[in-house]
């Protein structure tokens, strides 16, 4: 049932002939109230799907912006319960925008796979990305998510060859997240020319829409990727706005939504035409 929210959204985007804009924010950053305000404002700012990070003390695939966002969120008292509470409150006013949780395995494991899946589904979560859980270790978690109707979304990367792509895309649903650079989030820039063939390869292997993330910071880059991918994920650039707003004592929510709006406009106007 909840998986269909992702499918419905991608079906609509396909009909409109454009890529999705997928902003990433960290739940609880800089505090629960501001994060909720940002989350509620994102669909109007042009978000088609939203990735919500749940913080972990040791985020080994993240660059400095999201590392710091996690520390801010933890310092503000964020827990898995407060993250799910934020999603629940968002869902009260939005039944259509898919929410994808993204984070690290220990937090999921700590709750228990079954309880996590049930609690996430009840809060209105549509999909889950677990950065440090490769397919080889994901069986029991995938079973629990299936049972609760939450999509398990997998990552493919520049080091994923064709043989491995089969492993990566087995038991995945919703969409596939292509990590466009070798490295951590928010450091290197994605090369749109190299992204195009990779996206085609992942799309062919999975039969699913392909979202591209890691290394997309500017509207120009977002537009370039939107021409070849089904979805464009921007995280660090938005999270950095929160850090800047705090440093300048300004309204973090307004700044993030403004930047998200500009990125969304850019993605929407890129207009892919693909059969």
């Amino acid at each position: 049932m909840t998986v269909s929210r992702i499918e419905a959204r991608f079906a609509r985007l396909k009909a409109e002939g454009r890529a999705a804009f997928v902003p990433y924010i960290m739940a609880g950053d800089p505090d629960a109230a501001t994060a909720l305000k940002i989350l509620k404002g994102l669909p109007a700012a042009g978000a088609d799907l939203i990735e919500v990070g749940f913080p972990f003390s040791d985020p080994m695939a993240e660059g400095p912006p999201i590392q710091r966002a996690a520390l801010r969120a933890l310092a503000a008292g964020t827990t898995l319960d407060t993250v799910l509470d934020t999603i629940r409150q968002f869902r009260e006013g939005d039944q259509e925008t898919p929410i994808i949780l993204m984070g690290y395995l220990n937090i999921v494991l700590n709750r228990g796979f079954k309880a996590f899946a049930t609690d996430a589904a009840a809060a209105g979560v549509d999909g889950l990305i677990v950065v440090d859980c490769p397919p080889e270790e994901a069986g029991p978690m995938a079973d629990a998510l299936d049972a609760a109707g939450v999509a398990l979304i997998r990552l493919a990367t520049p080091t994923t060859d064709d043989a491995r792509l089969k492993v990566v895309t087995a038991r995945t649903s919703g969409f596939v997240y292509y990590v466009s650079v070798a490295g951590v989030t928010g450091v290197k820039e994605a090369d749109a020319a190299a992204v195009a063939p990779a996206v085609a390869r992942v799309r062919a292997a999975s039969g699913l829409p392909v979202a591209v993330g890691f290394g997309i910071r500017t509207p120009e880059r977002a537009a370039a990727v939107a021409r070849v991918a089904d979805a464009v994920v921007v995280g660090s650039a938005l999270v950095d706005e929160i850090a800047d707003a705090i440093a300048q004592n300004r309204d973090a929510g307004a700044k993030v939504l403004e930047t998200a709006g500009a990125l969304a406009k850019s993605v929407r106007s890129a207009r892919v035409s693909r059969d």
Partner: protein, 406 residues
């Protein structure tokens, strides 16, 4: 593969998936999966290659200084008044600890794999120094990630690494200590996937590291077993070692795993005490979780966030433990005791005065539990203690606690 192990066939692990029972495994971001798998295959090939083993053996003998002696500690034995105590003298190795055994094995593997750049994490700097040492010896560039807090605390080791030609990168993320240095090394590896070899210093991390580091450290136990047979004509009744990540302990335990008569004791760092939150005892004070590529016992809060560890001994100051230890604990093959900072300081002084050997603070944790271990094997028993490192590096810490200025 998938061998069904006999109940007492403990040395047959890990299984084909890199698991020790429920522990271990391979939990890394997808970008690193092909790399760790490639490493697993390369290591399996090297392990089976007599040429590789002979080359490693040559360097261990002529460069590291192996075999290390198994020394009968007569006065410690008299002090505890029971079982005969033997010390496995790993502190006599080049660079002053067991760490070099593993570094030598991994650097030869890295070169065999055609890697041209070495990265490592370090806490106190011991593994960083050992890595920088082998990189100097073989002429490979070396980057060592070290928490900014530790860079401040361990200035002599930073200088050593620099002299050896390594670049030390202070890590300011997170709590700026060992676990954050490990995160940063993983990030470097994910960014430099083609040329870089990550030389992990303890028997933890994604498969094959726990098994590979154990194998490179198992030379300690293999030697100790033969030396004890020569000295006493029989196996020891107990083996004891300190445990942080646990590479020295698993190195000396492993060749004894299937010898049921040999009791195995690991000693975790209890810091300010197990009744405080200032300790580093993952098994005695933590519960299973996933961090740094493996499932194992971890210090964590109720929501699964990893907690900072504390120990006077920087080498034990880590919130996790190697996965094989977690499994040996669960199945009851090894017993994990604890020792506080104060007890370790006492034991350091005791060993120094009675045997003329200044042990590392890490090894002093094992020394501090000789009371319990000798009691457990009785008066006619034989105990081997892994003296994993020398204490020269700890003089500043010891001086501070004794109220002395140096």
């Amino acid at each position: 593969m998938n061998t069904i192990a006999k109940p007492n066939d403990f040395s047959a692990y890990p299984d084909a998936h890199g698991r020790f029972g429920d522990y271990g495994g391979l939990y890394v971001p997808e970008i690193l999966m092909p790399l760790v798998k490639e490493l697993g295959e390369a290591y399996a090939a090297a392990k089976a290659d007599e040429g590789f083993q002979a080359e490693l053996g040559g360097f261990l003998k002529h460069y590291v200084g192996r075999p290390s002696p198994l020394y009968f500690a007569e006065r410690l034995t008299a002090h505890f008044g029971g079982a005969k105590i033997y010390l496995k003298r790993e502190e006599l190795n080049h660079t002053g600890a067991h760490k070099i055994n593993n570094c030598m094995g991994q650097i030869l593997l890295a070169m065999r794999m055609g890697k041209t750049r070495i990265i490592a994490e370090t806490g106190a700097g011991q593994h960083g120094v050992a890595t920088a040492t082998v990189c100097a010896r073989f002429g490979l560039p070396c980057v060592v990630y070290m928490g900014a807090v530790d860079v401040e605390r361990q200035a002599p080791n930073v200088l050593r690494m620099n002299l050896l030609g390594a670049e030390v990168r202070p890590v300011t993320s997170g709590a700026a200590t060992l676990k954050d240095a490990m995160n940063e090394a993983m990030r470097d590896w994910a960014t430099n996937v083609h040329d870089t070899y990550y030389l992990i210093g303890t028997a933890a991390g994604p498969h094959p590291y726990p098994a590979m580091v154990r194998d490179f450290q198992a030379v300690i136990g293999i030697e100790a077993k033969a030396q004890m047979l020569e000295a006493e004509g029989r196996l020891p009744d107990a083996v004891v070692a300190c445990v942080g990540g646990g590479s020295n302990a698993i190195g000396i335990f492993h060749p004894f795993l299937d010898d049921e008569s040999v009791k195995l004791f690991g000693v975790e760092a209890a810091g300010h005490g197990m009744d405080t939150d200032q300790h580093a005892a993952a098994i005695n004070g933590g519960r299973p979780g996933v961090l740094h590529g493996n499932k194992t016992y971890l210090l964590q809060d109720r929501d699964g966030q990893i907690l900072e560890a504390h120990s006077i001994s920087a080498g034990l100051d880590y919130p996790g433990i190697g996965p094989e230890h977690s499994w040996l604990h669960d199945v009851g093959r090894a017993t994990y005791l604890t020792c506080t900072d104060d007890e370790a300081l006492e034991a350091l002084q005791l060993c120094t005065r009675l045997e003329g050997i200044i042990p590392a603070l890490e090894s002093s944790h094992a020394l501090a539990r000789l009371d319990e271990v000798t009691r457990a094997v009785g008066k006619d028993g034989l105990v081997v203690l892994n003296l994993s490192g020398r204490g020269d590096k700890d003089l500043a810490t010891v001086a501070a606690h004794l109220g002395r200025k140096i």
